[in-house]
């Protein structure tokens, strides 16, 4: 079993619009199928 540390979100301009932020940014390793499970 291997643990993969979540990546910090890349620098994003501070925004008040949620639609400008990708919802999966905090789960990149999961979305890229490098891990099969993550805790949120």
């Amino acid at each position: 079993m291997e643990f993969v540390q979540a990546q910090l979100n890349p620098a994003i301009s501070n925004t008040e619009n949620p639609e400008e932020v990708n919802p999966i940014l905090g789960h990149v390793a999961f979305e890229e199928t490098r891990v099969s499970i993550y805790r949120a």
Partner: protein, 210 residues
Amino acid sequence: MASQAILVRPDSPHYYPGTLGNKPIAVQFHSGSHYVALRLLEGYLPKEKLKLVHYGSPKFRFDALMNGEVEAAALMEPYIALAEKLGCRAVCEGHYLGAENASNNMDHETFEAINRAVIKAVDMINANKRQYLHYLIDEERFASVAAKYGGLTPEDFHLPRLRYFYNTPYTDEIVEDTYNWMLRWDLLTDTACAADLVDNRLADPLPADD
């Protein structure tokens, strides 16, 4: 369980959420800090007065709070303990369910083994929470923040805030209530349905001593 508090600086004029209308509050959109902030603040302020600003990961939200870029920030542990040690105060706080999210390619045996490990960990941590706080304090990203602001020790934590219990499936009622809440805040398309969002097939309760 996870917990997020909306914190203000020691010199802040804000003592409860009702005065934070139109004041910038740092969150990470589409994550716990975003959703908890909405759930907490909607009881005090009309939607049009909520000024949530995306600052990303907690270290950026913490810095934005401390350097005065925002009036308040939604933070979880161990950032809450560090903020309170520095004299910041929580104007409100909410607990919420965390969960393991597994992909379709995870087999049943592996998922059950992970759940058994989680159950064992819950028992061990609840028996002596302070013994395990070094995992929070020494985490690489937080450690750099703590060092910048004077450090943090296990004695600085309010232990009842840290809540651990066995994983259980989401009930249909919880899923439906959450689904409707997300629709109301435009966080979910109404073409989704509960069956698309939650799969409880692998989430049968497990005995603690299995």
